[in-house]
């Protein structure tokens, strides 16, 4: 009986030490913002784009977090479109990329371009995550089901079910004008995208 008690206490004690050690090591890997999961350094890119500049952009219809659906084709003849695929909600870089675009609305507006944010997360997750970003001016779309179907069409679905961090600029005829399948660990530079928007808008103006 005494041995059983001693064994129980030893197990209890070891468990406490383990929990303590876990708490300490987890706290060291907490990223910049509370609530953000740090997946560590990932392979920069896994896919070479299946599409190239000059190709027709595959059409799609996806549910938006604001309700209803959004189709790429609804902007045909009206607006240039930037598709911003981010790998996953509640992860570093992704959690800042769209807030960055959110304060750059005038850059999109002056170049007659709409931004569509796309992630493979489901609507409730995207809703909760984007609430932390303030009020976004652009539609956020869920490519959750069939899982990553649009990312797959664009050739950027990773083997673990998340998408690459990728930007596609599509003109008013639905033709892809710029592709950036970016290092998943890094933020695409805003000026590079702004330059591409301006370049395309200048072509439109001079037509």
């Amino acid at each position: 009986m005494a041995r059983t008690k001693s064994l129980f206490l030893t197990v209890f004690f070891i468990t406490l030490i383990s929990v303590g050690a876990f708490s300490i090591s987890w706290s060291k890997s907490v990223p910049d913002e509370p609530g953000i999961f740090d997946p560590g350094q990932l392979k920069p890119t896994e896919n070479s784009p299946a599409l190239k500049v000059g190709d027709q952009a595959p059409d799609f219809t996806l549910p938006a977090i604001s309700g209803g659906t959004v189709s790429l084709s609804q902007y045909r003849g009206k607006k240039n479109v930037v598709l911003s695929f981010v790998p996953a909600a509640w992860t570093p870089v992704c959690s800042q990329q769209w807030p960055g675009y959110n304060i750059a609305k005038d850059i999109f507006d002056k170049n007659d371009t709409i931004l569509l944010g796309i992630s493979v997360d489901n609507i409730p997750t995207l809703y909760a995550w984007t609430q932390e970003m303030g009020t976004l001016w652009f539609p956020v779309l869920s490519d959750f089901w069939p899982h990553g179907d649009v990312a797959k069409k664009y050739g950027i679905l990773r083997s673990n079910g998340v998408s690459e961090r990728a930007l596609f600029l599509i003109d008013k005829k639905g033709v892809i004008r710029y592709i950036d399948v970016h290092d998943i660990n890094k933020m695409p530079r805003l000026e590079e995208l702004a330059q591409q928007l301006e370049k395309l808008n200048n072509l439109d103006i001079n037509k």
């Binding site: 008690k5 004690f13 303590g20 913002e33 959690s95 807030p99 850059i107 805003l190 702004a194």
Partner: protein, 192 residues
């Protein structure tokens, strides 16, 4: 029986110690010697350059700023908390500019951590920031910090000429009350 008491005592001690260790791992210290030697691109805007009292040249050290104290905001254009708090930081700057005793002693500069000059200019324009913002696209300011940068972070340094710099205050996280922050600055002024 004695052994069991010992186990319980150790267990209770561990339960109290664990959160303390977690908390302490998130503390921030700033190495003044490293910070003062970091070289940044000088602001191109002449008004900003004049405000900081910088000599001619493309680069500068923070210790070259002509002021008794320098408030450094580490921010990112991409950080939603920095965006949300930009108005309050502007209020802090305005209060400083409108209070002579503080204005004569404190200057403010923002460092856009991981941001390019273009990205910093987007933030400055969007939030009508009155004080200079400089870019740190290579994260060099990280070299002076003991832990990963969490934006926004505020560092107040005492400058004593000849590129000498002493850290007098660090604050990680958003400023929620500009007046309270100003009172903290006034206390800092009183105690140094």
């Amino acid at each position: 029986m004695q052994k069991r008491n010992l186990y319980f005592a150790l267990a209770v001690i561990l339960m109290f110690f664990t959160p303390v260790q977690v908390e302490s791992s998130q503390e921030l210290t700033v190495n003044a010697d490293t910070l003062k030697n970091l070289k940044f691109d000088a602001p191109e805007n002449l008004v900003d350059k004049k405000y900081l009292g910088l000599p001619d040249g493309r680069n500068f050290h923070l210790g070259q700023v002509r002021s008794n104290y320098l408030i450094i905001e580490l921010f990112s254009m991409y950080c939603p908390v920095c965006q949300r708090g930009a108005g309050t930081v502007n209020q802090v700057y305005d209060l400083i500019q409108n209070t002579q005793a503080i204005r004569d002693n404190f200057k403010v500069v923002g460092i856009g951590v991981g941001n390019t000059p273009y990205e910093v200019s987007v933030f400055k324009k969007k939030f009508e920031v009155g004080f200079p913002l400089i870019a740190d696209d290579n994260f060099i300011v990280q070299k002076a910090l003991s832990s990963d940068i969490r934006t926004p972070t505020f560092v107040v340094a005492k400058l004593s000429g000849k590129n000498q710099l002493e850290i007098v205050l660090t604050r990680v996280g958003e400023i929620k009350d500009a007046g309270e922050f100003i009172r903290t600055l006034e206390n800092t002024l009183g105690s140094h």
